[in-house]
Amino acid sequence: MKVTLVSRSGREFINGGLELPDSATVADLQEAIYKRTKKFYPSRQRLTLPVPPGSKERPVVLNYKKSLKDYSDEKQNKLTVVFKDLGPQVSYSTLFFFEYLGPLILYPIFYYFPVYKFFGYGEDRVIHPVQTYAVYYWCFHYLKRITETFFVHRFSHATSPFSNVFRNCAYYWLFGSYIAYYVNHPLYTPVGDLQMKIGFGFGLVCQLSNLYCHIILKNLRNPDGSGGYQIPHGFLFNIVTCANYTTEIYQWLGFNIATQTVAGYVFLVVATSIMTNWALAKHRRLKKLFDGNEGRPKYPRRWVILPPFL
């Protein structure tokens, strides 16, 4: 089968196109492109079917598992594919590992080492119990996240643009340091004992619920990674679409109730708004996909992320 490759401007991307066996899959095509161009490894390639000029439709993205025959012109046994370079990519596992590593290492530095003398404070310091529980709670949280990255999550896309490394690490590392600075400060004022216990207790319950949510999400997808979207169900997903985000937000709320810093609450607000954006998109996508037509189930009425507000 002859495959013609064009760029989005219509120019031929590989002169003369590529010749592939009739039974070849999209993955084989990606390999062939990589072999030929040497620069564009498969995860950098975005291959779509051409869209008629002026059409507002979103182009069909080629699925790497499907065979080329599923997309080609049957009679003429050829195929035209539009190529786009997504730029250098990094695997999600790598990205997540480095963004979580920062908080995991930076926060304890403020707890264990006399860093405050560089800010002009003396070396004597009284460590309150809440500060000790906080460093354990925090480290447990990020260790949990790293573990989930490697053993639980099933990513719908294998990679993310490399530039996200700087953006994401800046977010986690800067906020992590900002919060750590205040919670471990020599002039830190702890809250009452009961408030601390309620905060950490509630936070821990939410962290464990969050883990369970992630396990449920993992089991929604087939192990061979054929992905696709399912209607989440079970546990809190029966009432809220993004129960995983809900539990994550409440988990941070627990931490803040226990530690009470403006820095922590600022982080909570920012994180909540980011997750809310994601949740709205996901909820919308699921409702559109599961519209009840043509035998598809209809997406049930559910909260998006934070009952009873949204």
Binding site: Y182, V183, L187, Y188, Q260
Partner: protein, 222 residues
Amino acid sequence: MASALTVLRRLYLSIYNWLVFIGWFQVLFLALKALKESGHEHVYNAVEKPLLLAQSAAVMEILHGLIGLVRSPVSSTLPQIGSRLYLTWGILWSFPEIRTHILVTSLVISWAITEIIRYSFFGMKEAFGFAPSWHLWLSRYSTFLVLYPTGISSEVGLIYFALPYIKASEKYCFRMPNKWNFSFDYFYAAILALGIYVPGSPHLYHYMLGQRKRALSKSKKE
């Protein structure tokens, strides 16, 4: 009744733009007068009132964008006005020791020329309904080539030279311990502001260059 609202909108915006134009014209006039008669150390005192008024009035423009009276996105007007208000109130007004610095003169003149051009441009558009001749229009998209670097350097310079006064005065600082475990140090905030100018200024300048290219190529087509 839509046309009555349109008329009202145009009337309001004309008055707004021309009033602020007059304010900035005063700033430029008084600045040059003081420079000639008394020297750069006295420029601030001469322009203080119209400067504070004209610059603070710009807050209205955020409102205009929010309620849809004008098309400018809030995301671009907010940082611009924010930095202006920071310099005007947060540095010049708050720390009198910096007012005699020569950079105050370059700052005030750069700002004043830029704003005179900008407000008269919008004033004419709202009042007379048309963009002025391409020649005046060109000055709007060309003077920034010089005025942005001079203005931004003056801003950065003044913040930098004000740092010792900021640190010594302890103004606008909120200290620990307190029950919210919160602190704010105006000195470190100023250093952070300087840090933002480093990527922020080339980004802004690039954006203006792009706008200029687009505007000039559009006029060529017409």
